[in-house]
Symmetry: C2
Subunit: 422 residues, 2 copies
């Protein structure tokens, strides 16, 4: 099944984009451009993932993927905590009901304000260097012992779109220097809890993910004897991607689940007392979001049909501007309510005075006219918040969490032990 | 002279980045990260340009390049109008004291709200298609005849970074169809004023710019007989770039000025009564801005020194994230107050949990320590407003217009006929 067909099925839309009353009604009510985030799809995604994960694995949500308060609130019952990277994200997570102790604060070059907010929340602070550890200890004063994990820059990387381990990096402490740093940590008034390794992002290959996770456990086992106290947490990072482009397939979840359950067994023997954690952003919410934009004009220029829509790079950078130089790629998109229309080849472009403001070039779509809605799927992560919304002074996109489409699933109970292990 | 040396001279900084009290004081007062826009440098840039331009040429400022109200206010006495693309930009320009009749409203797929705001302001509306013309006429009703220009998608392009003419485009009306569109315009209740052609952006080659401008005049002359009324305006677009990367040199202004004066002479003969216009954004303000960011940490990973600074891709996308895949490029940058220090090779990176958040890789800089300021020059255009400032919930950059450095120039008088011809 191709990406578009999968997206239409997920959103319970007819194969040709027909029968779309719900989305059309929402667009009429909230205006366009509009991001819709589906609560039921978010829950289904987490539940399906949970079903494959080892029972005790902690699942953290990386707030940066989609910090919309309603999304966060909807996720809270299903997750064990949040990965946050700023004072604002700490506040958002607390407001959504996440316990401060369930926050993991990561990022190179944390500001003193960020460290102070993390101390106040009693969050786990993922240290990226010994210098940061010393700064944290000085900030905390003598009264409290901030909870810390040490981020390791591993000797390996994840074969992924965005590599974040291996070689020289701004992230974490080089694995070969970790023993010395751990020894120094033991002399500081910090409560050491474990390790954090993030080897890469946007990976769709379950075998590559599993191999990086196995290597992470080996690394943690090698470093554990140097730690100032027993390792209670091993954050395996994340890296699970969502297919957005032609030819991409979803992560083989069963494969990854098998590998992770095996890994959990190894960890229980080799690193007893340590809880494994995954921190996922895009994977939890990416497929649960759709961006709706309305056709303003249909225009033919030198043989090419352009659909000019009211949304563009200022709202959804990763589906438009970030594709500059690889314009043959496009997110799955459909014209809603276009059942039965003839199909033509078109380019879909935004309203910005900028040539990179392009959704898709030369793709087959049902003939669309001004007023029609174009749905851009796989838009739940790194959308509004990761885009230059102030550019050109155009209005920001509206964002709404919705309770549609209903997913078949009485089996979804966030408080069950099957689903959550907080 | 290399780009960095030119920038240091422009900002009256010592060659090694020493003697930087003013910038350091401003950073201490306003905090970092901080965009500083120099009023005197903006004025000098416009005055130097004006000195080379034909006397009657209208100079428009493209607000999208830097919509900061203080920048706009500073520019107003020196320009003849503004190019705007949204309701918010129309309001900004009016608030800064630009007459509504001096606004030029461009952009494909304008919303009805944008067209209505343009009508209200009595702005010149740059039509991108006949469909838009019809929509405008319907919106205006019978009472007013909106002032319009027709944007032409020329048969040529500008050899530039961002090509916006030639081939099929979302912008304007294909030149070969312009006669028919002009005939149709004549039947609508619109006040036709002239043509707009924008062939490309970010060009540093004066000869290429001049050739595109000559071709634009030829095109306008060929189309003028088809226009519903005499051509009163020919907007030549813009496209003048600012050097940001190694090996780039500024536009040869004298060369361009010679060509434009010749062109103005031709236009006076071949298109009598038509005023030429240029719309420039980056060129007017790009070199008059500097971004200051503070070193949070100096870190060595596997032989590479990383300076982690407090500013990154969320504030200045074009100097960081947009360079992904061409990381050998970097904006000119300096460590302030580092006179006399040893030089080392470093990578300068931002605080985001994202590998593309990189200012420069493996460049020579004086040894910097936490607390030092790094200045990123050529940062006056497409900075804060063109970046995903909400990403990760990090605070936005501060922005300040300053009256420093003073430029030698009693010759700068915006109201003189030499400088402004409104």
């Amino acid at each position: 099944m191709n990406l578009l067909a999968a997206a239409l099925e997920r959103w319970q839309l007819a194969p040709d984009g027909g029968a779309t009353t719900v989305l059309q009604d929402l667009a009429a009510r909230h205006g366009t451009p509009l991001y819709l985030y589906s609560g039921p799809l978010i829950e289904r995604q987490v539940a399906e993932l949970r079903a494959e994960l080892p029972r005790d694995l902690a699942l953290l949500y990386a707030v940066k993927a989609n910090p919309h308060p309603a999304v966060l609130h909807r996720l809270v019952p299903w997750i064990d905590g949040c990965d946050v990277t700023s004072v604002a994200e700490i506040a958002l997570a607390l407001q959504a009901g996440v316990a401060g102790t369930a926050l993991s604060v990561a990022g190179p070059g944390k500001s003193n304000a960020e460290l102070a907010a993390a101390i106040d929340a009693d969050a786990l602070i993922v240290l990226e260097s010994l210098a940061e550890a010393r700064r944290l200890a000085a900030l905390a004063g003598g009264g409290v012992r901030p909870r810390v994990a040490l981020r390791i820059n591993p000797p390996f990387t994840l074969a992924a779109d965005a590599r974040m381990g291996g070689g020289p990096r701004k992230f974490g402490v080089d694995s070969e220097h970790a023993p010395a740093v751990l020894a120094a940590l033991g002399t500081l008034p910090l409560a050491f809890e474990g390790f954090h390794v993030y080897a890469g992002s946007r990976c769709l290959d379950a075998w590559a993910l599993a191999e990086a996770q196995r290597a992470t456990l080996r690394l943690a086992c090698a470093l554990a004897p140097h730690a100032p106290s027993p390792v209670r947490l091993l954050n395996l990072g994340g890296g699970l991607g969502v297919p957005c482009f032609w030819g991409e397939a979803p992560v083989a979840l069963a494969t990854l689940g098998d590998a992770l359950r095996g890994l959990a067994g190894d960890a229980a023997r080799r690193l007893p007392g340590a809880r494994l954690a995954l921190e996922l952003g895009r994977y939890l919410v990416g497929e649960a979001g759709v961006y709706l934009t309305r056709v303003v004009e249909r225009k033919v220029s030198r043989g090419i049909v352009f659909l000019i829509v009211d949304g563009g790079a200022h709202h959804h950078w990763h589906a438009t501007g970030a594709l500059e130089g690889r314009r043959h790629l496009h997110y799955p998109l459909a014209v809603l309510g276009a059942a039965g229309r003839a199909v033509e080849r078109v380019s879909v472009v935004g309203p910005l005075c900028a040539p990179h403001d392009t959704w898709a070039e030369d793709i087959a779509l049902p003939v669309a006219v001004p007023g029609d809605l174009v749905a851009v799927f796989q838009s739940g992560a790194y959308g509004a918040s990761a885009s230059p919304q102030g550019f050109l002074g155009k209005p920001p996109a509206a964002e709404q969490l919705i309770d549609w489409p209903a997913t078949c699933g009485t089996e979804l109970h966030p408080q069950d032990e099957e689903n959550k292990h907080a």
